[in-house]
């Protein structure tokens, strides 16, 4: 026989609960349609809860003197199936079916959401609060030079511009801010100048450098004697490139303190998985950085062929994407351009770059012989992300590289 629930009705617009004053029924009683069976009291009135059909009381859950929220189950009736059909009442089973409908129907799910506050205390009135937390300092010049309006931002996105690009524009807006019209005027002004379309290579380098430049980068340098390396190179066949010595020394130095090449992401330092080191190769209108794999695990002579092949393919622009992927640091030799000093910028996804200037003959004081001796000296530089490495750590690493270069046969 179907079971029909007796529920606490909503007796008034703002009524959330009602107290059962008197139970007019007992288990086993026969009740008639529209019979008032439970007397309840709201803060507005005393009223009777009615039944919707004829049936037999099978269970009473409510107790006198207790307050129940609207919709609470107060008791159950056993009702004949014909009676359910006649009156159209909902049974426990049909309600369950409607509920499972509700869980699948987004409409019902949403309707339920709106009234999902079960905790009446949540609405209890609280005393007014005096704000005691010190807020942010209020910027004095909110309309100042650094303000980029939503319109400016959208237009810059259109043109692929960054803040760096508009640094050349003199603002006429409040506090000297650059208005959209300033920008458009500037672009119009540039129209009068000769211009060319930047190559994809140029744009790729620009993008990488711009991204890298968002970090606090610092550079340290150390003069290093290259005589032993040059001697070793002269006797070796095939001749390893100077950069390869740097590559190998750099890798070995890093193996002693791999965290130095770690990459900071949020609150994590990501450590190198392998000592794969890139080498910067100047090509037409840009720089590419092929990566030499597992430099720490191969002696110099075994690296020569791999290195030469990569550099050769780089110059001919025949590198695959894979050739340039996964480096943990880079070596750049700007000494080949005759330069002695530089502050290289690491790739945006790397923390370190080792640079080497041109070797120069210099008199070096020999403490042993108490005399100046001629030596070939190059400045070696290390640029690092200061968030990851400090000057001391970078210095130690650089010194270690210089030391390793003094024993090239061990490389």
């Amino acid at each position: 026989m179907p079971t029909v629930p007796i529920l606490m009705p909503q007796l008034g617009e703002s009524i959330a609960e009602a107290t059962v004053i008197r139970l007019g029924i007992a288990v086993g009683d026969a009740v008639r349609t529209d019979q008032e069976i439970i007397e309840v009291e709201t803060n507005k009135a005393v009223m009777g809860v009615t039944t919707l059909c004829n049936g037999i009381v099978s269970e009473i859950k409510a107790q006198e003197g207790i307050s129940y929220s609207v919709g609470s189950l107060l008791g159950l009736l056993e009702v004949a199936a014909e009676e359910v059909a006649r009156t159209g009442v909902d049974t426990l089973e049909s309600l369950e079916a409607k509920r499972s409908d509700a869980s699948t129907s987004p409409a019902q799910a949403e309707a339920n959401l709106h009234f999902a506050i079960d905790d009446a205390d949540a609405y209890e009135e609280a005393p007014a609060v005096v704000p005691s937390v010190k807020g942010l300092p209020v910027p004095a010049g909110t309309m100042g030079a650094h303000y980029i309006s939503p319109r400016m931002r959208a237009r810059m996105d259109d043109l692929g511009l960054r803040e760096a690009d508009i640094s050349a524009v003199a603002g006429t807006g409040a506090g000297g801010r650059v208005t959209v019209e300033d920008l458009e005027r500037f672009l119009d002004y540039l129209e009068a100048w000769p211009s060319t379309q930047a190559s994809p290579m140029r744009l790729a380098v620009a993008d990488a450098m711009r991204r890298s430049w968002t970090r606090p980068l610092a550079t340290v340098g150390l003069p290093t004697s290259l005589d032993r390396v040059l001697d070793h190179r002269r006797t070796h066949e095939p001749k390893p490139g100077l950069t390869l010595y740097m590559l190998r020394a750099f890798a070995l130095a890093l193996t002693e303190n791999p965290a130095t090449a770690g990459y900071l992401i949020g609150d994590k330092v990501v450590h190198p998985r392998a000592f794969d080191i890139g080498v910067a190769v100047q090509v037409e209108d840009g720089v590419v950085v092929p990566v030499v794999r597992k430099v720490d695990q191969k002696p110099l002579r075994e690296l020569i062929a791999e290195y030469d092949d990569l550099v050769d393919r780089a110059r001919r622009r025949r590198l695959s994407e894979n050739d340039c992927r996964g480096g943990i640091a880079t070596v750049t030799n700007f000494g080949t351009f005759g330069l002695t000093l530089g502050t290289p910028i690491p790739l945006p996804n790397e923390t370190l770059i080792l640079g080497i200037g041109a070797g120069v003959k210099k008199p070096i004081w020999s403490a042993q012989a108490e005399v100046f001796l001629p030596a070939t000296v190059a400045e070696v530089f290390l640029t690092f992300d200061h968030r990851v490495v400090d000057g001391g750590g970078a210095g130690l690493l650089l010194k270690r590289v210089a030391e390793l270069l003094q024993d090239p046969s061990a490389l």
Partner: protein, 321 residues
Amino acid sequence: MSVTYIDAIREAQETLLREDPRVFLYGQDIATFGGAFKATKGLAEKFPNRVFDCPISEDAMIGLAVGAAIEGMRPIVEMQFADFSSIAFNQIVNQAATHFYRTGVPIPITIRLPSGGTPGSGPFHSQSMEGIYAQYPGLVVLTPASVSDAYHMLIDAVALDDPVIFCEHKFLYRWLKSKSINDDHLPIGQARIVRSGKHATVVAYSAMVHEAVRAADRLQQDGWEIEVVDLRSVKPLDIDTVLASVARTGRLLALGEAFPWGGVTAEVVSRVAAEGFHLLDAPPQRLNARDTPVPYHPKLWAAHRPTPESICEALRKLLTF
């Protein structure tokens, strides 16, 4: 030969009475007297039993119009002043505005509200009620700014199946003249660009359109080109035309004669900020009347509402942001 704004309104009603037997006019002093502003002058004689004087019962006037609309008529009710429609507020927002949604039976009534300030009119004969009515679902709120719009929009309003709040500006009644009623006829719900420019957009409606154009004229002497959008209809609001204009200029001033708290200008600014944030090169601005009742004395009144001077000042601030 020229046509004033009020001539256009009278003409439109004459056309409607002549062409549509469902139309009748109901209001105070509108029959033989021809209305407090003469918007119905001569119509009672031309159309016997179609133009009625009624008791001073704004609530009942609208109630009667609703009932007549249910039975197939297209009443035009004249409020003597927009201010007095507050007495009919219940019938307008609760009866007329909810009726179609609740019952599916439309209520095609047109309520003419002589709106806005004129010198010396004081607190109870100067109000602009469009923002209040636009807040309610189920109403169309129109604010014609030109002679031709006054004519065409009144005719279109009566043709709509919805209750229309037709806000006529009293200052324009006799001040605004046109050589003739032209055929430049936009559908209800479309805004019009009345002046083209590239430095800032002023969104205005009703009499403020003319003040905006004057301000734009002055600023032109300094090299600023101001675009002026006449909303024509504040509900529905043609936000597309407004956004298209802001897209050209990057700057927005929403201008209205109503009180400053909320209202049409606030709606325009919030819609542009929400839907056209990327178009804005400066914080969108509003300029409204002051937050006091409309004062009586012409000197106070002139400073209460936006004027070409205050509009220029607001625009200069906006332009130099």
